[in-house]
């Protein structure tokens, strides 16, 4: 009885507190609804055609603000190994795992290459249409997830994942450093690129290459996160 009253007082006071905060916020925000103004994004759209990339968001993410994306990759990298460190991964014995039935295994095996193909498509066409390395990489990781859930013996090779991850991360920074040496600006677009290539698969200089590298990195890290999360042993 006493505990129940405590919980409800807590709920009421936090309700009142957050309502007060948000109402103050609203009273300011509603008076100053931002008007359309010429922003940095509009100027970027004007010069976007020079880069020869059809998807302006991709140019912004990978090239104009590419440094943020490098930082983002670093965040994912740290988080991924942090999770690996926490849920210290051991190859578990498959005894207490529920054996999945034949239809599930067959379906998963049929779907796996299709999802993989879709992920690679989203990754490589990131500079032409919606999508890119982040989304494609996560789609690939979801294919891995499907196999991990359904199959009893599927196991990612730790060595290959580490190799892919390292390759992707190192080559991202190296591309940036080549730009620094060639064009005197880190992550500069040193490969040939022009507006006339707009819409071609091979266009945009370093932009699609970097997005594919991001895809490899995100795909391998997400797969590791998924595997670590799924296979945390339950016994202790």
């Amino acid at each position: 009885m006493n505990i129940k009253r405590d919980i409800s007082t807590n709920a009421i006071s936090s309700f009142a507190l957050s309502a007060l905060f948000v109402l103050t916020l609203l009273s300011i925000l509603l008076q100053h609804i931002p008007q359309k103004l010429s922003s940095a994004g509009d100027k970027l759209l004007e010069i976007n055609a020079q880069e020869g990339v059809a998807n302006a968001v991709t140019t912004v993410v990978v090239y104009f603000r590419g440094f943020d994306t490098l930082g983002e990759i670093a965040v994912l990298f740290i988080a991924s190994f942090g999770i690996g460190l926490m849920l210290n991964f051991q190859v578990q014995n498959n005894q207490n795992k529920v054996k999945s039935n034949f239809m599930l295994q067959l379906g998963a095996r049929l779907l796996f290459p299709i999802i993989l193909l879709f992920g690679v498509y989203v990754m490589t066409y990131g500079h032409l249409s919606v999508g890119g390395g982040f989304q494609g990489g996560v789609i690939i990781a979801s294919a891995v997830l499907l196999m991990l859930v359904s199959s009893n013996h599927f196991q990612l090779s730790h060595r290959i994942i580490t190799l892919l991850e390292t390759f992707a991360g190192v080559s991202y920074v190296l591309i940036g450093l080549i730009g620094l040496i060639v064009l005197d600006s880190f992550l500069g677009n040193f490969l040939p690129h022009s507006a006339s290539q707009l819409g071609l698969l091979l266009s945009g200089g370093i932009v699609p290459i970097i997005y594919i590298i991001i895809g490899i990195k995100v795909g391998s890290e997400m797969s590791l996160i998924v595997q670590n999360m799924l296979q945390r042993s339950d016994n202790d």
Partner: protein
């Protein structure tokens, strides 16, 4: 038309979010939080931001729900 759809989606989102927050059963709360992600995807599509919508669908809702479900499996349902 678009204004009414945005209004409806936002209202539904607020209701879903409120239920998800006060729902005592954790599995239900997690399913509802996936609904919030999907509602946000609809809004991002309406706001002409397909890249953000795809990212939110794949990362926020896809991997995010997996993480919540794993948390549920390991942390237990006891509130």
């Amino acid at each position: 038309m678009i204004g009414v759809i945005i209004l409806g989606t936002l209202m539904a989102l607020i209701v879903i979010a409120f239920v998800a927050v006060i729902e005592p059963k954790l599995p239900d709360a997690i399913i509802l939080s996936m609904g919030i992600g999907l509602g946000a995807v609809v809004l991002f599509v309406l706001f002409q931001a397909p890249d953000v919508a795809l990212t939110e669908a794949v990362i926020g809702t896809g991997i995010g729900s997996l993480i919540y479900l794993m948390a549920l499996k390991h942390l237990g349902e006891r509130q």
